[in-house]
């Protein structure tokens, strides 16, 4: 029996998976390269998101989930889970839980992830709903800095050389990570997705990331971005509010929940791939996958690994988010093969 989701559920899952961890960390590397023009670089690149997702919608049937493709994507999403959790636990360790053993944090996150994938698919599909109010609260928190923004920090624009622009495109791609999940989630959604819906999703994604970029850029001096990797947390730390002493610590808990849901969605996607490969009894595999996840994550909770992953992810995304889907779609279009009849077992 195939798992069916509504368009709203599909876009919610995609949004959570795409925002997950990168929204607090993609700014610093981008701003360090592009300076005042980083918002412009992201603006130009972000506009490509709409044709990108539209092409996925137009040709997703030609992206045939063959066994090798499933294995490659399962490996990629597993890597994303590990690197995101590594970054998350490292930040928590430095910021909020310096004395708490990192292994314990990873085990707890892995346990939640395992619980989600062993539950009915509806658990993973609807888990993102709990984040909606938290995301709204988070955006309100960030907006509190509006009076301290220096708008001249966003100018001048148009001074980057082609080489610098190309360099800046690498970190600017981070918010795109996860777009390939559309190809999988779309199979669970039987109705045609209209351009208006795609545009609406694009507009929300674009506005969210542009907001997350412009606020720190206009709040801090350019040179400060060399001092800290996650400007959003620093921005929240400097807000004085009456209802809580430290807004950043409050946010850390929101972020923790957000990250747990994100990795659970990626794990859910991996389990769906097992279904596509015809592996119906996946529970044992899910347990071993979690054990492997815990061990692998444990070894990437350090500064060097976090920095290394942040550098390589844009390149790997280029393969799995752009090149491979394009190659597979073109190949199958020529061969006339489609996904028709492929069901995803629950």
């Amino acid at each position: 029996m195939g798992t069916r989701i509504t368009q709203l559920q599909m876009f919610l899952m995609l949004f959570i998976a795409q925002t997950g961890t990168v929204f607090i960390s993609f700014q610093s590397p981008l701003i360090q390269i592009a300076g005042t023009e980083s918002w412009f670089v992201f603006f130009c690149l972000g506009l490509l998101f709409l044709p990108h997702i539209w092409l996925f919608e137009r040709f997703f049937q030609y992206f045939v989930w063959s066994k090798p493709i499933c294995i490659m994507y399962a490996g990629y999403w597993f890597f994303i889970c590990v690197s995101f959790t590594g970054k998350n636990v490292y930040t928590l360790n430095v910021w909020a839980f310096p004395e708490t053993p990192v292994l314990l944090v990873i085990v707890l996150m892995g346990s939640v992830m395992l619980a989600v994938v062993l539950s009915k698919p509806s658990t993973a599909v609807n888990l993102g709903v709990i984040l909606i109010p938290l995301i709204v609260i988070f955006i309100l928190f960030v907006s509190m800095a509006v009076n301290d923004l220096i708008w001249t920090n966003l100018l001048p624009v148009g001074q980057l050389s082609l080489g610098e622009f190309r360099k800046a495109v690498q970190p600017a791609q981070l918010p795109f990570v996860g777009i390939e999940l559309y190809l999988l989630f779309r199979l669970m959604q039987p109705e045609k997705v209209g351009f208006r819906r795609l545009f609406l999703y694009f507009a929300i994604w674009f506005a969210f990331f542009l907001y997350m970029l412009i606020f720190p850029l206009a709040y801090f001096s350019l040179k400060e971005f060399e001092l800290f990797p996650d400007p959003i947390i620093y921005l929240l730390r400097s807000q004085e509010v009456t209802f809580v002493e430290r807004l950043d610590l409050f946010f850390i808990y929101i972020w923790l929940a957000w990250s747990i849901v994100t990795i659970s969605l990626y794990a859910f996607a991996v389990i769906r791939l097992l279904g596509l490969m015809g592996i119906l009894y996946y529970k044992k595999i899910a347990v071993w996958m979690t054990v492997l996840f815990i061990i692998a994550t444990y070894f990437v909770v350090n500064k060097n690994a976090v920095q290394f992953n942040a550098k390589v992810i844009p390149y790997i995304h280029g393969i799995f988010g752009v090149a491979l889907p394009a190659a597979v779609i073109v190949f199958n279009k020529i061969k006339g093969r489609t996904n028709a009849g492929k069901g995803i077992s629950s």
Partner: protein, 362 residues
Amino acid sequence: MKRLLIILLPAALLLSGCWDELIFKDTQMVTMVGIEGDSEEVTVNYGFPAVTDSSLEISTIEAKGRTYGEARNDANERSSEVLDLSFMQILFLTEDAARYRVYDFLDNFFRIPRNRVIAHVMLTQGELKDYFAISGDYSKFLNSSESYSKMINTFHQYSLSTMYDLQQVCTILFDEGMDLSLPVIRINQESGKPELAGTGLFKGMEYTGEMLTVDEGRLLTMLKGEEGSILRMSYEVDVDGEKVPILLELVDNKQKINIDGEQAGIDLQIVVEAEEFAHGPVYKGEKQFNELEDQLGKLIEEDIDRLIGRLQEAGSDAIGIGRRVRAFHEDIWKKGNWNDTFADMEIDASVKLTMERSGILE
């Protein structure tokens, strides 16, 4: 499975309670920190409330080190409790220490997540210890960070000086388009009470040693659009050949900075209330009012020109003209070091003053 989820999610959120708890009796909540020294040796004073049998007193620990971090470690080793800076309210920096690269002293405060970055920063004149142990009748009242916080609120509310917290200080220090300006306090020799001496000007990361008077500091807050809820200026105007004192309160303040080549113009449109004046000669009708507006506008313009002259002399762009230049006039910005360009620029202020109300019905 849902039950497991319900247990695991809160468990993850409550983790910090197991290993990262900080028991109040094992910590010293540092509320005031003072730094003096140079690039070779740093002396740090920590002030924290200590409960004695009958009252709450402020205790201090002095520590030395080659860097701030080393001094803090020294203090921790000598204290029976862990020094916790998450409640820090005031950070003092001596004028002498501020002449060195200030950020080197602040980096540790700024980047360590646990520290409080909304603590206010002030420069001090004289011995740093005096600010932690004030003698005389004022000691009970003043010897606490809260009293200093109240003092800072007054400075800000009455627009006596530009006020910044640690986060803003670091942001401005790294901003090439604007220089920092901080309140300087001193101990009044007669009363033994700390008071505002003026506004200290920075050039890049270092304090220039130049200090604006309280009146100039007030104008600076107006030029930066950072005035508090009250900004009062006192002038003497000429009415029918008679010198009359008049007290103005700022109601509204709009400004525009125009840059043309190496000339800059600051157009200031201010609306004031004539708060106090002697009854009789000042207010004699519309014509008189207009003349007063012109006269006061010119007086403020002269003061602002003088203030800009002082800023240029110090090479300190405390107004932040550089931010506009960087954004819109790249040719000027790229000419060289902005502080030098700023010092050589021709900057003129023009003030259009409107006296909107008199504060008295008749």
